[in-house]
Point group: C2
């Protein structure tokens, strides 16, 4: 693992050996000043009341954070935007046949959880950006509600047109489920947390253990964010006008059909009332019943009305201006809004960031100054649709692209293993940071512990950054603006099912999330190290040869995807045409043989292969340049090349059917939501069997790679 510099010298990318020593000493001072009591006290304070976007609680939290930043010496403002944000007026779900049952859609107070009894200012169980609706129909259970599930239903002879579908949480981001349900003609959609995925099957339920109890439900956004996040009425632009008359009908990312989350307590009577075929084995969850698909005889009535308002969205922006390169900005953010009390999500990350920033302020007060400008950001409105970060990113797009070096995001954090994902150019930087940070439980480096877990899981233990999909505030930076971004934190050992529920509370977090705040402290250390290194480095620690390596891997994947799909299509069509599918089916059960699918043509990958070859040469050339040997001016020029390089991966037209997403290397999946798709134009065209588009997207992607390579070639050439 020489590349990470595990030897005695512990090199730091971006630093000379001498500077690295100075930096290490600074980081040691930083560590020593961190204070766990702050973490505990702020957690208790900020999670005491609901603080979702538009609420008095959120405003109070933003103002508290801003005041803190000011007191630590940051130049601090609150930037407010006014995006559309619906809250529920009417929520009704009742089964009207074969028996009557009214869903509770309510999370009761539980013993030992102080805030769970607070009802004042609480956001009830609902999905933000569901459309209004009043629908009644037979119920159909659709498993996770993904396109393949509907294909399976068609094979079983079941049509969801005009029906209300019951999907379970999991296997995709929740917003995909109403979107696919609507594409299939459903009139309404319910999403419940099955105990197999999120409940007693996983472990003891709250308050006995951390897992989701019978009446626990998962709030969340269902906006079509894979098209664009942020205010649905102002894509590409900041929602600055608070006097608009908001019309949800003008919002293409609002769902087409009404949708609501329910608990497994509420879902159980509905599932029990379904008849029809028994659900396929892999569709069955953990409730004590036989899962049937329907349709009916369960018939449900779903009525939803929302208050469609503009919600003031308070972003806290806190700057510490760089002493040497004030125009190079290092960004660090976490959201501050929660669905209600939001202890784990977002406060565990937000408060870690605060303690990190406090110590940065302390260091600055003691005489140190960052070379580059550090910007700390506390976002509002992340939960409904990444509102705060997206509007801010759109508002400041041009200057961000001119100045931003990198954006380091965090969100919830908890006990466990290092979790870093992001742009490949920050891979070595991230690995070295992880190398230099001690895991609080085992006292080995966080990198070593991460590697141990990978080895034991029989996965590659070389450190590589997984690319970013979506699900937090890095989205506008990485995918829309082309700013190399990271998402950081810890997790994997706390378990639990408080996500987006009323039980995401102080009491839950201190029992199960990070009982002694040691991983919040580690998150502050991780974020702090990254910020200090990015701000102090002698030259920018971006290593683009890792990007080229990643791109080659993704190219190999999409080539294989097409090849595999070609073989599989031919095989399946043969099974259909030969009658084998029909013969293998049980004649006593309804079964529709699927239609043969279009054969997969051979695609012209040559432009991509040539572009990747050039990309490799260009990144190899620039890697050979030793910045230590450059003049200050040359070094600055090189830094500027590297800083802006990632933006060359943006295409002005963006991705098909979603121009806001402009990065050719990765995007959240159109049918996965949070899950990343690499080379998304190509990959999704193949997956969706758009053959012409696949060839086009290969060419478009190749063009972007060439532009990127040319940009670097000029730098390596000394321009």
């Amino acid at each position: 693992m020489l590349v990470y510099g595990q030897g005695p010298t512990r090199p730091m990318v971006g630093f000379t050996a001498e500077s690295a020593q100075r930096e290490a000493a600074l980081e040691a001072r930083f560590d020593q000043g961190l204070n766990r009591q702050n973490l505990q006290q702020w957690m208790k304070r900020l999670s005491a009341k609901p603080h979702h976007v538009g609420s008095p609680g959120s405003k109070a939290v933003a103002e508290f954070i801003a005041a803190q930043f000011k007191s630590w010496g940051f130049e601090t403002t609150i930037e407010t935007f006014y995006p559309l944000f619906p809250t529920p007026k009417t929520r009704l779900l009742e089964m009207v046949a074969p028996t009557r049952f009214t869903a509770k859609i309510e999370e009761p107070a539980v013993a030992g959880d102080e805030t769970s009894s607070i009802k004042d200012g609480n956001l009830p169980v609902y999905h933000a950006y569901s459309t209004d609706g009043d629908v009644t129909g037979d119920l159909v259970y659709v498993n996770y509600g993904l396109p393949d599930d509907y294909r399976k239903l068609r094979e079983m002879g079941i049509d969801v047109k005009g029906k209300i579908v019951l999907a379970r949480y999991g296997a995709s981001w929740r917003g995909i489920k109403p979107k696919v349900a609507a594409e299939n003609g459903a009139a309404g959609c319910l999403i419940y947390s099955d105990p197999a995925d999120d409940g007693y099957v996983q472990g003891d339920v709250y308050p006995q253990g951390p897992y989701r109890p019978a009446q626990g439900a998962q709030r969340g956004s269902v906006m079509d964010m894979p098209v664009y996040p942020g205010d649905p009425l102002t894509p590409f632009q900041a929602a600055t006008d608070k006097n608009r008359a908001p019309d949800p009908k003008q919002a293409p990312t609002v769902t087409k059909i009404p949708v609501m989350p329910i608990s497994y307590g509420d879902a159980e009577p509905l599932l029990r009332a379904l008849a029809g075929p028994v659900a396929p084995a892999e569709w069955r969850g953990g409730l004590p019943l036989t899962y049937h698909v329907g349709p009916g005889p369960a018939k449900v009535h779903l009525k939803l009305e929302f208050d469609w308002k503009l919600a003031p969205t308070y972003n806290v922006v806190a700057k510490l201006t760089g002493a040497q390169q004030p125009d190079q900005w290092i960004l660090r953010g976490n959201h501050h809004d929660g669905w209600n009390f939001g202890a784990a999500d977002p406060l565990s990350g937000m408060i870690s960031l605060m303690e990190e920033a406090r110590m940065v302020g302390e260091l600055a007060k003691s005489g140190w100054r960052p070379a580059r400008t550090m910007v700390y950001l506390a976002w509002d409105g992340e939960e409904p649709a990444l509102l705060g970060s997206t509007e801010w990113g759109e508002a400041h797009a041009a200057e961000l692209q001119r100045h931003a070096v990198a954006y380091v995001n965090s969100d919830g954090t908890s006990r466990g293993f290092l979790r870093v994902s992001g742009a490949a150019s920050l891979e070595l930087f991230s690995a070295q940071t992880a190398r230099d940070l001690t895991d609080p439980q085992t006292r080995v480096s966080t990198l070593e512990r991460w590697q141990a877990s990978r080895k034991v899981a029989r996965r590659p233990a070389d450190f590589h950054l997984e690319p970013l999909g979506s699900g937090s505030d890095y989205t506008v930076f990485q995918h829309h603006l082309g700013i190399p971004s990271l998402n950081i934190g810890f997790g994997g050992e706390s378990g639990g099912g408080s996500y987006h529920s009323n039980y995401d509370s102080y009491d839950h977090y201190v029992r199960f999330g990070d009982p002694d705040f040691q991983y919040m402290l580690a998150t502050a250390q991780l974020g702090g190290r990254m910020m200090l290194r990015l701000a102090n480095a002698d030259w920018l620690p971006l290593r683009v040869e890792a990007t080229a390596l990643a791109v080659r891997g993704w190219m190999n994947e999409v080539v294989k995807l097409a090849d595999d799909l070609r073989v599989e299509t031919r095989r399946k069509n043969e099974l259909i045409r030969s009658g084998a599918m029909k013969l293998a089916a049980d004649p006593r059960k309804p079964y529709n043989v699927p239609e043969p699918e279009s054969e997969v043509p051979f695609l012209n990958f040559a432009p991509l292969q040539n572009a990747v070859a050039r990309l490799e040469l260009a990144t190899a050339a620039i890697t050979k340049v030793d910045p230590a040997k450059l003049t200050a001016g040359q070094r600055l020029a090189l830094d500027e090349r590297l800083r802006a390089a990632e933006q060359k991966f943006l295409r002005a037209d963006g991705l098909p059917r979603r121009p806001w997403f402009r990065h050719v290397l990765q995007a959240p999946g159109f049918y996965t939501g949070y899950g990343v798709k690499t080379l998304p134009g190509i990959r999704e065209a193949i997956e969706q069997r758009y053959w012409k588009e696949a060839d086009e997207q290969i060419a478009f992607t190749a063009e972007a790679l060439i532009v990127y390579a040319q940009w670097l070639e000029r730098a390596a050439g000394g321009e």
Copy 2:
């Protein structure tokens, strides 16, 4: 698929073209005479009362069957043996802490199932050949109770010594569970049917659907049958002495600790009362609770006492003497005893066999005579330990080895796909039989439908026989006597959970098993075709080149097994020694790093490789002989070579630690029970890490293959 002769000529192995036409005509007559009404009436009659071994019902069933055979023209006798067979006197299971609960261990009557209310003569829920015992201890949940599960428990810091283990049914034959529990020091064992494997997760429960209801339980044998089946007091010998004083202490195959089956209704309170670590994800079943491992605080008291008696075991033996080769015997059997009403198991197969035999008798009455002697066998006492067939096989070992050509077994049968497994020398014979039989639901050949199901499941669709493990009456013939055996039937579309319960009834079977008896009819056709072909063929339809092909495949498997295990051992030991296992574990949970395991040496496979090469040459040479061109005398000599060949795979010493199992090519697994192990001496030595034994067994197996090859070489050479 030319090999199966799917062309217009439809050749039959063992027949000249002319004889094949005559045979096809005979089979058409056979088919036409079959009568579904008989199936329905006999099913109703024979399943009306409990008819387990030793019961008046079993005697009545045997006498009825014998009378039928006689009336159809068979020379019929009842051969009676007297093996040890325990029935329960005391069955008590109670939880004594932390709360009190007494298990019901009782299957209640259900609506619409006429026999479920019969209590007279019923065998209650119990495990045959459990030892007597009265034990109290903390409960531990051990998943399926296999060696790997105990390894996992040790890693979790849990010792089962002196405790009572609760295992779920599945993943092995049930008798493995108390054996492994005792090896690990447990004091008692409970085995329950988890609804994830056998209950509402699978489908609607009885009587609404076919699946196992909350109080349904699975009776069964727990005798250590992988050591030897049959009377535990008389291995290798027939249990003919009815005046012995049976002492279960003298029976090595009786369990070492008391064991009892329970329903999931009875298991649920026990599982709910367990604390300790949450069970690993793959250990969790379908009950609505968090599965904990324990030990305790649930403490249970298990008390079992049995009546250890000799039970008269009535085998019906019915002969139709061959007109040309009376000394060549074709055997066909199915057991007639059930746990109670035994409609599916065994009557669906038994009655199919009866209707088959009736039509054979009809054909004989109308003037046809088989060339060889046909022997129909209705076994008693299969359920507890293959008692009837094993004792009969042991009683007649010498003459069977002198005369038997093949044994065709059936057991339960139901709606669905062809199921044939057995000796590879009968592979082409079986494929052709399947080719010539029409599937009642789809009207294509049963072979074609089977192939369709394999293709759709993306499995090889070439017809190969899976080798036999154990679980029915072929065991003594294939594994102990070396008589090529088949196990035949249909299934896979009826589903259900009546297995070994009181609900294996007429009402259950006609609703869910084979509603219009068409697959019982198909089973009669399948068995009938096989018997008529084996009895009528111009020469024996045994094709040993398939055996050689199978052996080469198994050899490749065991070589790969050792290689894979070597790599895996080294990898795992490295993870242990480097500390990665410890680092990857959650420090807040008890965790013992496992001990490194012995490194896997390179084994000397050369003797086996040489033997297989010779086997291939020998079988290829004999395949080139065209029996049609031989004189009658030469043909008889060749037939005798082929008939006795399979016996050459027997080793006098048998397998390590279980000399009764003598076949080197396959055996039921020592730790799987029913599941087959091919090249078992070698494979199990590798799996158990007995490296010296592995080398020995390679040599022993090679020797047997050489003996077999030599035997054939003499035939091909014209001896």
